[in-house]
């Protein structure tokens, strides 16, 4: 069995500064072999380190599912909440303490099925929360059931004859609902993901970063894809936005663009707007 790293934490941090954001004593983590979730956590930590944000200024909030176990391993103010409700709790934290960097880790089922309502309204408000949406096209923790992003024809435990439901395009959904920063990355392209998280945190407004990350056990097994197959799929079927834009229409369909898909600076951030109202009201009382 894997054991927690046996070297002093200070030594580890010296070598890898982003280790300071990890609760090493809570390792080993619960994720399956080949799972991409650890890569996303690593990308978040490296991005925070690059931005020089202290642990004491970060709150990480999640709902339920594999993705939502991330805050447990993150050394900050961490809230592992109820299924689909991470954004509601995070909105509370951000409004009460606007100076905190608030990061939400959520999955495709958590965020776009049970949490769909909170998702579109957080986009609409443009509240300064950075959402890492771990999209693995399936419900991993509950045993591999179909999710709103499961590709058509794919197998899940609740679609034994193949998925017949149309699926969400998460990025389009977020842009349509008013998110001011929307990006897509993958667990394969980690360096690129770090840059996306960095840009997302820097953006003052609602940031959504969809991360394609393989569920090697539930999705992989059901759809006869091995760990390597799944990462290769990410490598071959996603391409940088600039290259994607140059593709002819018929070739675009089978590929997904990576990068910052939407970035608008024309809307005021929610907590900023709220507290300016407070200031006005309080000033008016003097």
């Amino acid at each position: 069995m894997l054991q927690p790293i046996d070297i002093p934490l200070e030594k580890a941090i010296e070598k890898k500064p982003y280790f300071k954001y990890l609760r090493i004593d809570k390792m080993p983590h619960i994720w399956c072999p080949g799972c991409g979730n650890g890569q996303v956590l690593k990308a978040i930590c490296i991005a925070l380190d690059k931005l020089g944000i202290d642990n004491n200024n970060v709150s990480m909030v999640s709902g339920i599912g594999c993705s939502s176990r991330t805050p447990g391993y993150f050394d900050g103010y961490t809230l592992h909440t109820t299924h689909g409700r991470a954004l509601a709790f995070a909105t509370g934290v951000k409004l009460a303490r606007p100076e905190l960097t608030v990061i939400v880790t959520t999955g495709d089922g958590d965020c776009t099925a049970i949490g769909g309502n909170h998702f579109i309204h957080a986009c609409r408000r443009n509240i300064d929360i950075t959402v890492l949406l771990f999209n693995n096209w399936i419900y991993g923790m509950t045993g591999g059931q179909v999710s709103p992003t499961t590709p058509k024809g794919s197998y899940a435990t609740t679609t034994p004859y193949g998925n017949y439901e149309p699926n969400f395009s998460i990025a389009d959904l977020a842009i349509g609902a008013g998110a001011t920063f929307v990006a897509r990355g993958t667990a394969y392209h980690v360096t690129e993901l770090v840059n996306l998280v960095e840009a997302g945190i820097k953006h003052k407004g609602f940031s959504l970063i969809e991360v394609l990350t393989p569920c090697t056990i539930q999705y992989g097994r059901k759809n006869k894809m091995g760990i390597v197959d799944m990462y290769m799929w990410l490598k071959e079927n996603t391409i940088p936005l600039k290259a994607w834009e140059k593709l002819p229409e018929e070739k675009r369909k089978s590929k997904l663009p990576r990068g910052i898909l939407h970035h608008a600076d024309n809307r005021e951030e929610y907590t900023h707007r709220y507290y300016s109202v407070v200031e006005k009201v309080m000033g008016g009382n003097k």
């Binding site: 004491n56 909440t81 909105t91 509370g92 100076e99 309502n117 309204h121 309080m282």
Partner: protein
């Protein structure tokens, strides 16, 4: 000298919340509780607080808990169906020990029921609504002035016990206007959550102190910790260790139960020499009080016992009462909820009669009087509940 102000029940609730130190409100509109939100929207920005109208009831409850962990005294208000929707996150507040006040201005149910009419049908939902074992304190005011007292008390206990507390009102109390003696609320006793006395690296957010309540650090104050709705150890990290899980659930209940005597609050009216007792709460208790006076005029020795703290229920007090009187009548605006608790506590010492209504109408004093006369004259022999 008294300083009387005419106040609307729901507004009084909001004003008292501000006095209690509430600086965070998340809610969703629902009748008959909406005026609490409306007043909070007006008052909170004036004191630097946060008001947010969320997208739904579930979000409101979650948001309020988020605000509580980020250091604000936090509240939400709702009615029947909204209270049902909040239940999962109320359970989360119990498990994660989030201090938060939930106001439920009851209406007729089940389902959307009677949005603008009175009911007292959430007595059991308040205690048993969310899944799993727990003990959630619930306070039940019967006048506008008492709405203010109980709102402040709800915040105080939520903070001290690190637990959700329900303020269980009903439509009549929420929508009535009465004069309130404001001198009582000029400088009320305010309790705050326990902050950790140890440095951040030694802090365990779920290690109970002597009173079974762990100290609570606010997010942003340098005390980093993990919060989850899963069974957890002292650090807050998930665990399935059977001993740890058992200890946790036992403690969550025990921390409230051990303060039951302090939490208990009742009004006793003409009970000293009573042969019969009426047990009623909320707006129904007001009808009952008049019924007691009318019955006394007719020479029937009856008194009123009005629980203000509904949960934890005043077990011993009710037991003693049942041992003292010939019979108890429990009128309530539901099909028989609190009467079950009275029966449980009475342990068969006296017959218990019930009087139930769920049609959105009040129970009038003369109706209670009639029933008391029947009971006193021995016309009804077998309690309805046992017939």
């Amino acid at each position: 000298m008294a300083k009387l102000e005419l106040k609307y029940g729901n507004h009084a609730c909001a004003e008292a919340a501000i006095i209690a130190g509430c600086r965070f409100y998340a809610g969703y509109p629902i009748t008959p509780s909406s005026e609490v939100a409306e007043k909070m929207a007006e008052l909170l920005p004036k004191v630097g607080g946060v008001f947010i109208q969320m997208e739904d009831e579930i979000a409101s409850m979650g948001c309020a808990i988020g605000g509580a962990f980020a250091g604000r005294k936090s509240m939400t208000a709702t009615s029947g169906p909204g209270f049902s929707l909040k239940q999962e996150n109320i359970g989360y507040a119990v498990m994660s020990e989030a201090p938060v006040v939930i106001v439920n201005v009851q209406r007729g149910g089940p389902s959307t029921g009677l949005p603008t009419q009175v009911g007292q049908q959430d007595v059991m939902q308040t205690q048993w609504g969310t899944h799993g074992d727990k003990l959630i304190p619930a306070f039940c005011p019967a006048s506008v002035e008492e709405v203010m007292e109980e709102t402040i008390r709800a915040f105080n206990w939520a903070e001290v016990l690190r637990t959700p507390v329900v303020l269980l009102m009903d439509e009549v109390i929420g929508h009535m206007k009465e004069s309130v003696d404001m001198t009582k609320f000029k400088d009320p006793e305010i309790w705050n959550r326990k902050k950790p006395k140890v440095p951040p690296e030694e802090y365990l957010a779920y290690k109970p102190e002597e009173d079974d309540v762990p100290a609570l650090a606010d997010f942003g104050d340098g005390y980093r910790y993990h919060v989850t709705g899963l069974m957890h150890d002292y650090t807050g990290f998930p665990t399935t260790n059977p001993a740890m899980c058992q200890e946790l659930v036992e403690r969550l209940i025990r921390k409230v139960k051990r303060r039951a005597k302090e939490l208990e609050k009742n009004e006793e009216f003409m009970l000293e020499d009573a042969e019969f007792a009426i047990v009623a709460f909320g707006s129904t208790a007001r009808s009952a009080k008049l019924a007691v006076k009318l019955a006394r005029e007719k020479g029937i020795k009856v008194g009123l016992f009005r629980p203000i703290t509904l949960w934890p229920s005043p077990e011993e007090t009710l037991y003693r009462l049942a041992g003292k009187v010939k019979a108890i009548l429990v009128p309530e605006l539901n099909m028989g909820q609190y009467v079950l608790e009275v029966e449980r506590c009475a342990k068969g010492q006296c017959p218990i009669f019930r009087m139930n209504r769920a049609n959105g109408q009040m129970i009038y004093p003369f109706e209670i009087l009639e029933k008391i006369e029947e009971i006193a004259s021995g016309k009804i022999v077998i309690p309805v509940s046992k017939a």
